[in-house]
Symmetry: C2
Subunit: 350 residues, 2 copies
Amino acid sequence: MNKLFSVPLKGGNVTDVFNVDSIDELCAYLESVRADKLYVFDTNTAQILPSLPARSIVLPSGEKEKRWASIDRILSRALSLGMARDSIFVAIGGGVILDMTAFAASVYMRGSRCILVPTTLLSAVDATLGGKTGIDYGDAKNIVGTFYPAESVLIAPDTLSTLSDREFRCGLGEVIKHAFLSEDRRLYQFLSDNKDRILKRDKGVVSEMIKLSLEVKIHYITLDPEEKKGIRSCLNLGHTFGHALEAMKGYGISHGEGVAWGMARAFEAGAAIGITPISYRDECIALIKSYGFDTDYKICASEMSRFMDAIGKDKKKKGGAVRFVLMEENGKPCLLPLENDTVKYAVSND
Amino acid sequence: MNKLFSVPLKGGNVTDVFNVDSIDELCAYLESVRADKLYVFDTNTAQILPSLPARSIVLPSGEKEKRWASIDRILSRALSLGMARDSIFVAIGGGVILDMTAFAASVYMRGSRCILVPTTLLSAVDATLGGKTGIDYGDAKNIVGTFYPAESVLIAPDTLSTLSDREFRCGLGEVIKHAFLSEDRRLYQFLSDNKDRILKRDKGVVSEMIKLSLEVKIHYITLDPEEKKGIRSCLNLGHTFGHALEAMKGYGISHGEGVAWGMARAFEAGAAIGITPISYRDECIALIKSYGFDTDYKICASEMSRFMDAIGKDKKKKGGAVRFVLMEENGKPCLLPLENDTVKYAVSND
């Protein structure tokens, strides 16, 4: 077990990120933390530890469970166990479990302790750092939540071995996003050079990829912890388009697939209004596609009004206008509103 | 309209507190703030403005409505109105409406804007400053919530004129608490000297009393904004006993009555273990009583186990033990665990 980063966040809080070599080491560490704990799993992750801890709750899996009803179950259990403000909520799962457990921890007694153990590539690079917690509401993803950094993040690559290829690739959507957002292009180059070993999940290569990916995220969140300066918002590259597609499809597609498709749309939109160079657009869409993502899906005319409604619910709205993350070059994102016609063109080519 | 205080709170945020001379001035100010707004009232306060704003929601009144179902209604309405992160939730009501609206604002898009307009004495001195938001859960009061200071607090003494004598006196419970917690005894002296004019609600005297009371609260919350240092917790004088009584009585008594009774219990407990001088205990209980509070109520043997259970759910638990606020002298509170027998003695004299 070794510490990868200590990330300073709001109010002098720090999130420590550890790489954990094995499941045994993970268990030993969690047992060594002296505090009342409540473990939160979903039905997919309840078998990850050799035995289910006595104080644990197993929620149904899936994005459609990311609702207050699940938070209610966590809080009711914590209350019935007599947990105090210095007790710890331990989340073991993918992004849904991590976001919900951290949300519950952030509101239980107005803030108790929280440890996150991501069990998917997507959640390791996307849901662990930066303190965004939350639930969905109606069609709107993550519309209700808090900023509440976990005290520790424990990344155990061994937990990733059970992922299906599709689940693993979904995490790569966020990794590719970080590659575009990094000025130094190390991650971009790493993804171009190591595609086969990454897709085969070579443990050393995957660990290095996660580390490079988190470095990019840390850069953005420490400059703008509560997304007030228009810097952290740039981590939403692909998300406005992607979330709208996810909402419209009733979450039938994964978050990583939505983001991959949404990034392609952002490159199209940026190129259409002259912000993104054509050659850079083509090169980036090719990288996304090379990892097996569908970048060509088109919103058809009959779906368009529902799609545009979903776009209108985006959190990045300011003074009434939705702002999109567009790319000027690698590592140079910008936030801009788009004409409806540009949005429609980018998603339909009409 | 004049600014009373600018209170610096966490993350560089500031809460501006204004005294507002009339309802007309209140309306004019709220209209002058340029942003999308959602007004939240309860059935008692929906008539306070000359007309109900178009974008408003009227919740049922009462502590038993302080539940997620009410937060859900506020959030759903905000979402259906397309409110953004820079939109404002305006709460017009007593503590329940202020705490819930601020909670909703704190989680909507992970934090939008919030203005509080207290319409009771209790909420003016207790629920406006310091950013404690929340809802009840089972028997546990305010057990789920956030720290989220409002950007403005608008205190219009004219809104207090419709309160019943009982409601007004309930606010005095918190004012008296601040008198005990203030080192300089100005508020204590003010309450001793002006009882008749206060109970007659002389507007000038009430305004001065609110200002003196908020000064004490500001002292504690700025030293310890998130209740992590055992300083802000001292504002809970009387609350551990009081909340337990409120919970046991199913909220049939008011918060102010609970706190007044609870303070008397804290003085009894402090005297019993030699922390609180006997003469100071007697003088303080006499002041509470002089404002018409029942300080003599006893928990009978058949209620005791339910009462002790309610005590055990208190948020000030640390490392397993509930800590009580006890008084060494005026302005000198301390946080201590108590033996069960001492608690029982303080609430039953047995």
